[in-house]
């Protein structure tokens, strides 16, 4: 019997609520070399790092949100605060109406945290032993455990992996088992920090497909950080972008592109390979196929000119890929901060 968790989150306006959430670290730092190391024995120089600064957003129950930003932006620190690992320096965080920092038993039974390339499965025993362990510590009734495990085995194709010691599994196989183990208690909120890191393309695809299915089936709320934009495009309708601990953007992927990279990409094939630089920025030219970047507001006008003036054989208009958008934001960090 499949028990939906949608009902349990109902009645709560926000599955995640962050209000001015901030975290500062005091980090010891010293200069290079033995002399500096010796000096640091008697004189410690500390620097206060503002890892997260006044981050404010809400996530509705059942929503899947991509949490983006460059390395060191504060994504993982935010997730650690939301899952209850870190105590905030300032501001408020509520998850399913719980204060995460208190790590109440009922709260911990309703969330899960998955970190790419980190294991909570016991390394030297088969995954099925760890699953049984999770069944007991989460107090999962036998019938629910069996139905959830069967479901995981079918969706993730786990059958051949269950009885091998975890250490003998490949990274992709291990991550599938980690995912299954983390979801056995059917959590309502999933914090996923780079869950597909290091996985091959096929494993990434299966991972995303499974998460999408889990979200649809159980209405789970997902906060996902990933540097693979495929994860974000496939799973998230909404993204929150942070950098240097500060929030830069909160909205749809389309709106993100419109705000930070307001261009359309035109791919066209013409007879004779004409010079198209007068129509827009030429991004690439592969054989007869030319890719142009055109300001969004000028797209219709440029298209009309192209059709009227050139012998076009093929034409495709698209938004820039999310990877391009994110790359663009990373290169314009300072400008983006000014916009915010």
């Amino acid at each position: 019997m499949i028990r939906s968790i949608k009902g349990t989150a109902r009645g709560i306006k926000s599955a995640l609520h962050l209000q001015d959430l901030s975290k500062t670290y005091k980090v010891h730092q010293r200069k290079f070399g033995v002399r500096a190391a010796l000096k640091s024995l008697v004189y410690r120089d500390y620097k206060v790092i503002q890892a997260v600064q006044d981050v404010t957003f809400d996530v509705a129950p059942g929503e899947v949100v991509g949490f983006l930003g460059p390395n060191g932006a504060g994504k993982t620190t935010t997730i650690k605060m939301l899952s209850g690992l870190l105590y905030p320096s300032h501001g408020e965080a509520r998850v399913l109406d719980y204060d995460p920092w208190r790590r109440q038993r009922e709260f911990l039974k309703r969330i899960t945290l998955i970190m790419g390339r980190r294991n909570q499965l016991v390394w030297d025993v088969p995954a099925i032993d760890s699953f049984e362990f999770f069944r007991i510590i989460y107090g999962i009734p036998q019938a629910d455990y069996k139905s959830m495990l069967d479901e995981m085995v079918a969706l993730l194709d786990l059958e051949p992996l269950l009885y091998k010691p975890v250490r003998n599994l490949s990274l992709g196989e291990r991550m599938k088992c980690e995912l299954a183990g983390a979801l056995l208690h059917r959590p309502e909120v999933l914090f996923l920090d780079e869950p597909t890191i290091g996985l091959d393309v096929l494993a990434q695809y299966r991972f995303r497909r499974f998460l999408g299915e889990y979200n649809r089936r159980y209405g789970a709320t997902i906060l996902l950080t990933s540097h693979y934009m495929g994860d974000v495009e496939e799973l998230c309708h909404r993204v929150v972008f942070i950098d240097q601990g500060r929030m830069l953007f909160d909205g749809s992927i389309v709106a993100l592109a419109e705000r930070f990279l307001p261009y359309k990409t035109l791919q066209l094939r013409t007879r004779g390979g004409a010079d198209l630089s007068a129509y827009g920025e030429v991004i690439s030219r592969v054989g007869d196929m030319i890719t142009l970047r055109v300001p969004k507001k000028d797209t219709l006008q440029v298209l009309a000119r192209l059709v009227a003036e050139l012998p076009i054989e093929d034409l495709n208009v698209s938004d820039p890929p999310i990877t391009e958008v994110v790359k663009h934001i990373y290169t314009l960090k300072e400008a983006a901060l000014a916009i915010a």
């Binding site: 650690k80 690992l85 911990l108 945290l113 010691p165």
Partner: protein, 269 residues
């Protein structure tokens, strides 16, 4: 509530037992490491007693054999090694997963501890029988002391586990590096618990330090109680000391854990 706690313990116990059985060679090496020190100390102190031509501080050669065989068994039951484990817990990020489980963090170490002991106790008992056959221990047991030994042993385990766990968590949460604390902790334990020698055989200064620390109540007291070398008054003082240290350490542990978790930065993840 009790059933749930039992279920939890069963879960932790089972997974740790399975893990120990997977790490067969490592388990044997640990066992050898636990058996060898008391056997070496036994041989050394018996030789010393023989050369002295009489007993040492009231310990005959047979008493010395009894003492160190009992030390081996009591040490096995009371042994705790969270100080050894916690550095990797923190540095490899495993602690973060343990913290996010819906039960007390201490459960992991407690169940691992008990599972190891259950898995290895038969070997220790057989070793004790073998040592008894080899070193001819003398027995002066008093029935009341043997009965009193059981709660003394349990309190000794509770105290040693608590002190070890507090030291481990304090060092891990505040310093991240636990190795140095580990070395110091085991040295103090070796010198002041009675592991290296019966305390009356050690210099007066070390005896005074031992009296001021909790470690003698983890080993020396239950061992001498079992041997019938403790009077009723001293036994009562021993129980009071064990209980007092346990309460104090639990209180300190509670405060240290809360303040440590506020400083914890979840490194390794």
């Amino acid at each position: 509530m009790m059933f749930r706690l039992f279920e939890l313990f069963r879960g932790y116990f089972r997974i740790n037992m399975v893990r120990f059985l997977a790490y067969r060679v490592e388990t044997v090496i640990w066992l050898v490491g636990m058996i060898l020190p008391p056997v070496v100390f036994l041989s050394v102190w018996q030789s010393a007693a023989q050369q002295a031509g009489r007993s040492l501080a009231g310990f005959s050669r047979g008493d010395i054999a009894t003492y160190f065989i009992a030390v081996m068994l009591v040490n096995h039951v009371t042994q705790a090694w969270a100080v050894f484990l916690w550095e990797s817990y923190v540095r490899e990020g495993y602690l973060s997963y343990v913290i996010l489980r819906p039960n007390p963090v201490m459960f992991q170490d407690f169940a691992e501890n008990v599972a190891f002991k259950v898995a290895t106790l038969p070997v220790m008992l057989l070793t004790a029988v073998g040592l008894a056959a080899t070193f001819a221990p003398t027995l002066h047991w008093k029935p009341w002391a043997v009965v009193a030994f059981i709660p003394a042993l349990l309190l000794a385990f509770a105290l040693r586990f608590t002190v070890d766990w507090i030291t481990a968590t304090w060092a891990a949460l505040n310093m991240t590096k636990v190795d140095a604390v580990n070395v110091l902790f085991f040295f103090i334990l070796l010198m002041t618990s009675g592991q290296m020698a019966p305390l009356p055989l050690l210099p007066r200064g070390i005896q005074m330090v031992a009296n001021a620390l909790p470690f003698r109540w983890m080993l020396d007291f239950p061992v001498r109680l079992l041997m019938g070398r403790v009077g009723t008054e001293e036994a009562l003082i021993g129980f009071a000391a064990q209980a007092g240290w346990l309460v104090a350490m639990t209180g300190i542990g509670f405060v240290a854990w809360r303040s440590g978790m506020r400083k914890f930065t979840a490194v390794g993840l």
